[in-house]
């Protein structure tokens, strides 16, 4: 995962159009009690509310909480639990892991020996080739899930393949995609990754119809929006799966949804995914681990247990903006998956907040000062 470590750059104004009014969510100590009466020196010098907000942000802030991986509580701290735990470690690393690696290798062998012939020999017969490739991709994803001893409970009606329909889900790790893909071959929009993941993306995922984006390019947004629209209109394209948060969040919170998926003129089918943390914390903290390490961690844990809910498809209501629609769907998903909503854009991981928010605070303070100056 290419993280932009080092200087954070201020986000371009283009990206601002995505965000609803943060002020509606933020605790604004200064504006709760609108000060009245004549302006005095103490009012100008008393910066305590703003300092309190600054200190509050230093002590705890809702954004950092979204990306905190919760390290499991050590439970192996006494005479009989510790040997049990040691036994567990030995079992996981020396028995489970090799077994899983073998299963995965077998899966890859089967997959590649079917996929490569199908891909090249059926070049002429597109419809059949696509159908077979779809089945094969579902197969390899099932093998992946088996390699983590994935226990996935699917709730709700299986999505029927219809045109003009997109699927949105909350995002915890790249394995979200694999877990959903084993049930239905979705086309997905993803950040292009380097390394072996990138190789997989450009070869196999290409066959189910994936769209790439590049976070660091500003112009990219328009190109991607166009591709999204084209894909969703096409009748025999695979249904599109979008993760509107734009980044991996730790499965306890949800960050703001980007409106791109909600202005395609399609029905939006929400999917909620919740991992059971007792077995393993599936959150992929891309700042701390590479994807390979993340997969290895999953393969040496006991199991990946999660619930997937396919929720009722939603349409844009008359008079609703794309942003309101996005927030409404985020609400539906967050309630189902037990996630707390925070008013931050996931991309703030990579860039600074725009000066607009600070300016809003400055503006309200300035107006209050000027108003009170008039009062006698």
């Amino acid at each position: 995962m290419s993280t932009n470590q080092g200087k954070l750059k201020p986000s371009s104004s283009e990206l601002d159009l995505d965000r609803p009014n943060i002020e509606d969510y933020l605790p604004s100590g200064a504006s709760i009690q609108e000060p009245h009466g004549k302006l005095r020196l103490s009012d100008l010098l008393d910066i305590s509310p703003i300092l309190t907000e600054a200190a509050g942000a230093i002590v705890d802030d809702s954004f950092t909480r979204c990306f905190k991986s919760n390290s499991p509580e050590p439970w192996n701290w006494n005479v009989y639990l510790f040997p049990l735990w040691c036994f567990g470690v030995v079992f996981r690393y020396l028995i489970l892991f090799p077994a899983r690696a073998i299963v995965l290798t077998i899966g890859w062998i089967i997959f590649l020996s079917c996929f490569i012939p199908v891909h090249f020999l059926l070049k002429g017969n597109d419809a059949l080739r696509k159908k077979l490739e779809r089945v094969l991709v579902e197969l390899i994803c099932s093998f992946f899930v088996a390699s983590w001893t994935g226990v996935v409970k699917y709730h709700g009606p299986r999505p029927s393949m219809r045109p003009k329909q997109v699927f949105v889900a909350n995002h915890t790790s790249m394995i979200d995609f694999i877990i959903l893909e084993q049930m239905t071959a979705f086309a997905v929009i993803m950040q292009k990754h380097p390394g072996w993941v990138g190789l997989l993306q450009s070869t196999i995922l290409e066959s189910v119809g994936c769209i790439w984006f590049n976070r660091s390019e500003a112009k990219d947004r328009e190109i991607v929006a166009k591709k999204l629209r084209e894909h969703s209109q096409g009748a025999d394209n695979n249904p599109l799966l979008i993760f509107p948060e734009g980044t991996c969040v730790n499965n306890q919170y949800s960050v703001m949804f980007k409106k791109g998926a909600f202005e395609l003129g399609c029905t939006v089918c929400p999917i909620a995914i919740k991992y059971n943390k007792i077995f393993v914390d599936a959150f992929w903290n891309s700042r701390k681990q590479s994807f390979t390490m993340h997969l290895l961690q999953l393969m040496t844990s006991w199991a990946v247990v999660c619930d997937v809910w396919y929720l009722e498809p939603q349409n844009l209501r008359p008079g609703e903006t794309a942003i309101e629609f996005a927030e409404r769907v985020r609400d539906i998903i967050s309630v189902r998956a037990g996630l707390r909503k925070v008013p931050w854009d996931g991309y703030l991981k990579y860039s600074r907040p725009s000066p607009k928010h600070r300016e809003r605070k400055q503006q309200s303070f300035a107006e209050s000062v000027l108003r009170r100056l008039e009062e006698k």
Partner: protein, 175 residues
């Protein structure tokens, strides 16, 4: 305390508690340490300006640069001492002293007209003109019995802010 080891001993906690004049309980100090390590991503033993500014809630604050000047590069002990003004156990005097330090950027114990003007500029941005700011400040200063050339010291601040019901408290989340 060493570098980014995530274990604090009882000695360490007591030392920090003493340094901040008992403004925080031992549990709060442990929570603050977890937070400090979380912010100090590169494990250098102090939180840099970049690391503070990566907290969006902090970066959008109008006074973030001033606060940053005071908190940049502090080690954990000094970090807790810095935050002690925001503890509910801190006295009004300590809170006013903190506010005074924010204004007195050159640390000479005197707050000038320009110091106050600068802070007002941070608070109001481009939404009031420089001329208007000077006007407003002069007017309220004169009404309070000072002039444009007055140099305010800490006792002046105590007099001005002492009766205004100052609330400046932050809750440290303790799990």
């Amino acid at each position: 305390m060493g570098n980014s080891s995530s274990m604090l001993t009882q000695y360490d906690i007591e030392e920090v508690q003493q340094h901040c004049s008992n403004a925080f309980s031992q549990q709060e100090i442990v929570s603050l340490y977890k937070r400090f390590c979380q912010l100090d991503r590169n494990g250098g033993g102090f939180v840099s300006a970049e690391e503070f500014l990566s907290v969006p809630e902090f970066a959008v604050n109008p006074l973030s640069q001033r606060v940053l000047r005071m908190v940049d590069g502090l080690n954990f002990k000094e970090f807790v001492a810095f935050l002690s003004a925001f503890s509910p156990r801190a006295t009004l005097q300590q809170k006013i002293e903190f506010i005074f330090k924010v204004y007195d950027s050159d640390g000479n114990g005197k707050v000038t007209f320009n110091d106050m003007l600068d802070v007002l500029h941070d608070l109001t941005g481009q939404f009031i003109s420089e001329k208007q700011r000077k006007q407003v400040l002069t007017q309220v200063l004169e009404e309070a019995g000072y002039t444009k050339d007055s140099l305010l010291v800490l006792s002046d601040f105590v007099k001005i802010l002492g009766s205004s019901g100052l609330k400046m408290e932050v809750e440290v989340p303790v799990d």
